[in-house]
Symmetry: C2
């Protein structure tokens, strides 16, 4: 363990704590490029992943004990480290931040779609997913189950929103992603870029007329799996631009699965289909 110089701050109004101010409303910051907030990591696991990510960390803040434990395990270089009490952090953040460790980083330009697709064999594409928890779970499951990248079609929420970072357990900071250009009715044209790159495009739908997921994925070398929002699902525009519509079999008279759960099943099936391929 290298001794890191820590700066103790006792005044909640100290401007060095501005990155961590009013966290419940920090996701939109008119003063920052794009009007969006910084990337905020909460807790040691996610903070560690932020440090290893492409996002340049601006500062760490935490309680003494939490910093002791974290700094014993992680190199922070010359990133400023601010030690505060629970009371000071609560005052700054706007609520009791019991995890006791936070980091803030700058956003960076995202890679191009072509860069994200290079070397990728399994990607997931989201359309109209506005729910932060669903996006976070999607990243967590995708990372865990061998998906190489995520692409965003139209109408999805900000993947660097604080809640997404937390629910994803920091995997949104690691797994490559990019946004496909276009509006509600035009973004689907970008899918030709994936077809041209050899991806088999699969729409996930609760439609009982669709083919079984197993049959949709069997024997495919490169797969792009499209998932829409809970409720409306994928647009007809998007599904028409894909090669096949696939369903997870459901018992009659029940509800469709949660979005991230459906996707996780598809990731499992994708992995499983490859198991018998080689």
């Amino acid at each position: 363990m290298i001794d890191v110089e820590r700066i103790t701050i006792t005044d909640p109004a100290d401007p060095r704590l501005d990155d961590f101010r009013d966290l419940n409303h920090s996701d939109s910051r008119p003063d920052l490029p794009g009007g969006k907030g910084l990337v905020i990591a909460e807790g040691p696991l996610v903070t560690g992943r932020l440090l290893e990510s492409r996002f340049p960390v601006r500062a760490l803040v935490g309680f003494r004990g939490k910093l002791d434990a974290f700094l014993a395990e992680h190199e922070v270089g010359d990133i400023p480290v601010y030690e505060v009490t629970r009371e000071v952090l609560a005052e700054v953040a706007g609520f009791d931040m019991h995890r006791g460790l936070l980091a803030a980083a700058d956003r960076v330009e995202e890679p191009t779609v072509a860069e994200v697709l290079e070397d990728a064999r399994t990607v997931v594409i989201l359309e109209g997913v506005g729910d932060h928890e669903n996006i976070g779970s999607m990243f967590r499951n995708a990372a865990g189950m061998g998906v190489d990248a995520l692409l965003f079609g139209n109408g999805c929420a900000d993947p660097l929103y604080r809640r997404v970072v937390r629910v994803s357990m920091g995997h949104v900071l690691r797994l490559p992603y990019a946004h496909l250009a276009g509006t509600y009715t035009t973004w689907q044209r970008s899918l030709t870029e994936l077809s041209d790159a050899g991806f088999h495009l699969v729409s996930l739908t609760p439609d009982p007329e669709a083919v079984h997921l197993e049959d949709a994925l069997a024997g495919r070398e490169k797969v792009a799996l499209l998932v829409g929002a809970e409720g409306p699902g994928l647009t007809e525009h998007a599904m028409r631009a894909t090669d096949v519509r696939a369903r997870i079999p459901m018992a009659p008279g029940t509800d469709s699965l949660n979005l991230a759960t459906s996707a996780a099943i598809a990731f499992y099936e994708r992995d499983r289909s490859q198991r018998h391929r080689d």
Copy 2:
């Protein structure tokens, strides 16, 4: 639509609304048998499922428009229906109940394990699952994916807790379940009852030494799938009492999946294994 007599209540203190009072704390009611609360359904979907369930409904309460829509579609017989304003319901429930429709029912004796297992071919058994959201999602996924019943080992939260009912989308009111008797270290002995009934007992674990889920389930007529809490997982006691330990393959350096998601994948694999059986 049969005209149902509705009683308009304007006084939040009216004792006829007592079943719906202080909902955030209603799950524990020392005045009721077992010291547990009533079964509370929120919103039209779950209220409809409560009406069709084995739980005797005591009363419905809702806003005028919500009751109009609900009563046009459902038979309520002689169950009292109370019409209230949003303000009155907020005062009674303790928060703004924007769904605007609630029902309360009595708890009933649960079936025996033997009754639950009769005719069942796929069951899931939970151990130490204290998280209400996980239990609710488990019921939702189990119902959707052809699981016949749930059994509770030691240390699980109350499946009729209000939040479980909501997250399960009411499936906890429909899918049969029962509790296995015993303490933390003894309940696992009840598993012999399942073995005797011909169930293949499968522990779900993140252990990389475990066999692939596909291999654990292939060709089995009756399956009981054991799932433990996120974090600690199943106890060694429980796993020892099963026939096989099964894993969902995960990418190295990632986190295990959420409990309900893992289980949903196992339900999918179970269904899939049967697809090629006949």
